[in-house]
Amino acid sequence: QTVDRATLTANQVSVSGDSLLVAQGDVEVQYRGQRLRAQRITYDRAADRLRFEGPIYLTDDNGNFVRAETADLSADLTEGVMNSARMVLNRQMQIAARQMFRAGGRYTQLTDTVASSCQVCTIDPVPLWEIRARRVVHDQLEQQLYFDRAQLRFAGVPVFYLPRLRMPDPTLDRATGVMMPDIRTTSGLGTGIKLPYFITLGSSRDLTVTPYLSTKNGRTLELRYREAFRTGQIEVTGATSRDDILPGEARGYLHASGDFALPRDFRLTFQAEAVSDPAYLLDYGISDKDRLDSRIEVSRTRRNEYISGRFINFRSIRDIDGVPESNATLPTLIGDFTLHRRFSGGPLGGEAGLMFQTHSHYRTSTLDYDTDVDSDDIADGRDMSRASLRLDWRRNWVTGPGIVVSTMAEVSADLYNIRQDATYGGTHSRLHGATGLELRWPWVGGTADGATHVIEPVMQLVLASRDGSDIPNEDSALVEFDEGNLFALDRFAGSDAHEDGARLNVGLSWTRYAPSGWSLALAGGRVFRREDFGQFSTASGLDGVTSDWLATAQVTVPGGLSLTNRALFDGAFGITKAEFRLDLDREKYALSTSYIWLQADAAENRIADTQELYLNGRYALTDTWTGKLSGRYDFEADRATRAGLGLEFRNECLLVDLSLSRRFTSSTSVKPTTDFGLSVDLLGFGGSAKPGPARKCRG
């Protein structure tokens, strides 16, 4: 057993008397990861004691640091007393004490203490907040701080008194205990306070119990349970509430999710969502979701294979024209299985893919005809099952002048079984094929200013069969037209519809990469059809013999700016659809804004044009104050749907978050509400939120 030696270095060491060794001048003692510096140390070998004088600095191996005037410790530095000591834990939390007693290498007791993680400057020594206490015991093993007769002071003013207080030390990241409270005022619930209590249940499980009481006799208990397993983890959050919004009703919500690794690279994920009434999630500020989605899925992804089997249950809590969306006539239970394999084309060369997919969905209503309970014209009770097989192939050739010629083909067979539908009931089948010839001729060049340019004209001729079947289109009702499907053989999102007939897709893109790293990309495209089969609605931009012009512009700057603009406009430059997104994320400020303009379209049951500007930004007013602004303006309704202001103060020891937001939307179940939130977090305790910059000491 190797003997742990302590090393002492100094400018001068003198040996006198029978067992005294006196070291002077920049004396340093190192023992088991602890390092102690002082001006003068006397080592009494017989008593096995070390006495220190002059400013003493003790640092131990887990980042704790003690400064003291004098000290008398055992030779292994684990026991003894230090006078007018200042202990700094994890370079954050400071505890000044008249005396500090170390016992058994585990406990440190400090008397007449002032604890704070705030920067203390010599010229104004009053920290922003401090906890004064007769006695503090620091348990290094349990990483806890126990205060006796503690008094919380803000800017020197006593605010709170507690006979006994226990708090985790900064190095601890998980411990049972009360967490910082949040104050929340909403028009529906009045002013209330949330007081979370965190309970660790062993090393891999924990439970957070959060009572939330508010003036308009709102009483809520929220629970969050988390458990980590060897192969995955689950998290369940739920709450039960009673309030004046729905007096006399037990309200609540549940959200559970889990993710597990299964053998042979399979993965199981599940998510469950339930709520007692449509307005609950909004009233309690939990989420904006208007369709709850519970699902369980087993999937595996490899380079050439994707397998997924899943069940999904939808529940709509949405309001449409003042009427809650009926869940009976919506497909609420969906089952899918997908196997997609990719492989080389073998003798044909190139890249090929085979996909086998089954899909079925179920409506609880049993009516086989459409009523006006909902706004669609689908039989209320229609249930559908589909099995599809799709084979695709594609190959590139590079020709002499640098033109990349790609030949591609896709053939799909679908088998449908539709039930509880007077018009479409029974089984249907369909065979659909498409072939394409694509020519790409990219040019690359450099200009005098050092920029690199890529200009790429693309032309694609597609011949597709004509679908004679009368299969109703449910999953391909919503069509988008962008650079992602300008050159696709089939632009429908699902399998219920396939794009028919011959067409020519034409596109041109120009991208400029500046030497400094920012890039500008412009692209345009259009679809020319031989014959219009009326498969697309006007709002998709793909209708007519010639489609709308697709134009996109994008600017990206390294370091977090990306601006993307996409528009569809018809020949006479009338805008069909325009979307703009700017995302800027810098250290001092960030802005995320989006603008959309969409034409009304009955096929997509969008009864009115949609025109909305959304804005969400933050700006560092000073290095501790940050202003936040968010808003959503609906130009059609000509008023804001949501506006929010926020102010955050974060320095090395305190985090204050003020937020004021107003939601203007109202429906049968949801009323406009104003939400004011205040949360105060003392930083430096138990590895809580990341501290901000320390204030500079003036003078």
Binding site: V3, A6, T7, Q12, V15, G17, S19, Y31, Y43, R45
Partner: protein
């Protein structure tokens, strides 16, 4: 193994006679000094001193040794302690032993290293200077 190795073990009665042995000796009448060389051994009671070369300076009466100047790697030992250094000067009258140059003083389990060690053999005290480093075993094991 004594319970506590007293540092004070450096105490030494400096009035005892000093014997010096060596392979060869050269004497210079004019300066009254003698130079012993070749594994020189100096002994005074428990104090033993060994060096490659020791120059002895005698007192005015020519008989008593006043000072020993040892060089070429010196080791000093007494009943409980030992020290080594490049050079050492022992002034017998004052009981002052000064060892200089990579000095290492070992006492039981602890050792002190430095550049200059001044030992007062009469008082039994020693002071090490220069960037000194020493190791000790807390808990006195």
């Amino acid at each position: 193994q004594q319970a506590n190795i007293a540092f004070g073990g450096l105490k030494q009665d400096t009035s005892l006679p000093v014997q010096v042995e060596a392979d060869n000796l050269t004497v210079e009448q004019a300066t009254g000094t003698a130079v012993f060389s070749g594994n020189v051994r100096v002994a005074q009671g428990d104090l033993k001193l060994a060096a490659a070369r020791v120059q002895v300076e005698y007192a005015a009466d020519g008989k008593a040794i006043e000072r020993l100047h040892a060089s070429g790697g010196v080791t000093m030992a007494n009943a409980t302690d030992a020290a080594e250094s490049k050079e050492a000067v022992y002034t017998i009258g004052s009981g002052n032993l000064v060892m200089t140059g990579d000095v290492l003083l070992t006492q039981g389990k602890s050792a002190i290293a430095g550049q200059k060690l001044v030992i007062d053999l009469k008082a039994g005290t020693g002071t090490m200077q220069g960037r000194v480093s020493t190791t000790f075993v807390p808990g006195n094991k």
